[in-house]
């Protein structure tokens, strides 16, 4: 995708998201908060999956680091500033990702997926069983915090989520998107793509494959934690369900739904998934079946996801001479 095209799309998307709270009731605007959380986490996830070719099946662990980190900092340590929490969970998650990544990125393909899955389940069983530390299956409370040093105490929770916090998260997503755009279009990003396409050749050309994969792993962990902190803040709770392997599967689902070959794909996937899940849940108790069927259809029929499909349709429509 050309930079001007991408910029146009990003500006249009941001504009649309910025106008949304004016058009819909606060409750629905608040429902978009998980979208922001997932979108930020998926930007990181896709650095690993789409750009480096490593499918992590335990990525929910990093969401958990973010949510539980926010719970510990706000509840136990009494930190009141969300920025500080964000910074801390990102650094903390990256710090944990270093040793975990050292072990995981020695493998690729299915073994990488299994190792990350095992680490995710390890963390989940810790959260689940050591209830006197983590609250077990009832989780830990995430207290309401100040954003940008402001209390917003005259807003109730729904108004706060639909108003100030909504725009705050939108700004975070824009920043995260800009950072990630820089990352994937830097020489580092080029290295990652070379590794994805042919690791042996890349190594021969002087790319330090192991180190680059590790760096991608650590960056994606930091993004995951930031997303997790937002998710935890919205519900006011960090619970182990957020770390279970099905949640990791859901992240992969969103990335594939939107199209992991496209920079914006995962964001589109997160948006579609969030809206779809909410609509289906209010429609029927059998929403998992429909989501599963959609996933199956995407995997079989639209392997490039929504972004790839739209692109193909657009090309067909415009039909420029080559």
């Amino acid at each position: 995708m050309k930079a001007t095209q991408a910029a146009l799309f990003a500006v249009a998307g941001t504009g649309a998201l910025a106008l949304l709270p004016l058009a819909v009731p606060p409750f629905y605007a608040g429902l978009m908060i998980p979208f922001f959380g997932y979108a930020i986490a998926l930007l990181g996830f896709n650095l690993l999956f789409g750009y480096t070719g490593l499918l992590s099946f335990g990525h929910a662990m990093f969401l958990g680091f973010g949510a539980y980190g926010a719970a510990v900092m706000s509840g136990v340590l009494g930190v009141n500033s969300f920025e500080l929490v964000l910074l801390a969970v990102m650094v903390g998650s990256a710090a944990v990702a270093l040793p975990v990544g050292l072990l995981c990125v020695r493998y690729i393909g299915i073994f990488f997926g299994m190792l990350t899955l095992a680490f995710g389940m390890l963390f989940h069983s810790f959260l689940f069983k050591f209830y006197y530390v983590t609250g077990g299956d009832s989780g830990m409370r995430v207290a309401r915090m100040k954003i940008l040093g402001l209390e917003f105490s005259h807003y109730n929770k729904i108004e706060f989520l639909a108003g100030p916090f909504y725009y705050y998260c939108l700004a975070l997503l824009v920043v995260a998107g800009l950072v990630m755009w820089r990352v994937v279009h830097s020489p580092f990003g080029l290295h990652l793509r070379a590794i994805r396409d042919n690791a042996l050749k890349a190594e021969y050309l002087g790319v330090r494959v192991y180190r680059m994969r590790l760096a991608a792993f650590i960056i994606s962990a930091a993004f995951g934690a930031a997303g997790g902190a937002i998710l935890g803040f919205r519900v006011g709770l960090a619970d182990p369900e957020l770390v279970y392997w099905t949640q990791s599967g859901q992240l992969v689902f969103m990335a594939v739904l939107g199209g992991f070959a496209n920079f914006f794909g995962p964001i589109i996937g997160a948006l579609t998934f969030t809206i779809l899940q909410d609509q289906l849940q209010s429609l029927t108790q059998y929403w998992r079946f429909i989501l599963g069927a959609i996933l199956a259809l995407i995997v079989i029929g639209l392997p490039e996801g929504i972004a790839g499909f739209v692109r193909k349709m657009w090309r067909r429509l415009v039909r420029r001479p080559a």
Binding site: G109, F119, L122, K129, F253, F289, V299, I300, P303
Partner: protein
Amino acid sequence: MSAFANILAGGVFHAAVLFLVAAGLQLVFGVQKIVNLACGSFYALGAYFGITFIGYASAYGVSPWLILPGLIVSGILLGFIGPPIERVLRMVYGRDESFQLLLTFALVLMFQDVFRFIWGANPRSLDSAYLIYGTIRAGDFSVPVYNLLVIAAAIATAAGLGAFLARTNYGRLLRATAENRAMAEALGVNVRRVYSVVFTLGAVLGTTAGALVVPTAAASLDMAIEFVIEAFAVVVIGGLGSMRGALIGALAVGLIRAVSIVFFPELEVLAIYVIVIAVLIFRPAGLFGRSLA
């Protein structure tokens, strides 16, 4: 001492059921190179169906001696959902393994709601149906005969599968396909058929295990996603694609769980994943290498 024997008996029973599901996972991975997340759903399907079967059986006064054979038969009959599902999976055989994994994940989601639709959201269990065959006691040590029969059935399945893969002609075809698909195809193996058979066999192992476990445990919506992850631990410890590995891995996981539930309940699941990670780091091929036999 006898307390410890009780724990061991519980662990071995759990291992026997785990082995069946893990064997199905191994077979499918060994031959088709697909990690089938839906094998836990097959297990749950067998369990739910087993509940229905026993419900009817006791309503019509069927002799308790027919319960165990009946459960095995219904497990095998349920395996017939294998071929149509394999037909769907066939559409992504040429693709990256992440797509295959995701498609089986989609099946997991769909199956969960099928169970909810047919059997409801609440866990279903049978009151002490595992006592139909009585218990064996020696001092403080006691084990239901039913559990022993299930363990025997699992051992028989292991032996039968081993003999099938090692001795029979079709077993050789399976192993040849696992080893080198293109070469097997060039030599005239109907790989499509082999894939269909293997997937169905994997499904049958899962549904039978589920049907067998249901007199002793409840069937619930979460059992599919919980069990597949345990079966996954088994195959990683034992080594992907290895039948012997599935046996050893199942015993390891079953016994570790049984022992830690009693002595260190916090570590019950944790211990398993520590071992999984250790195995993946130090022996990524698992304790028992590579091939199917």
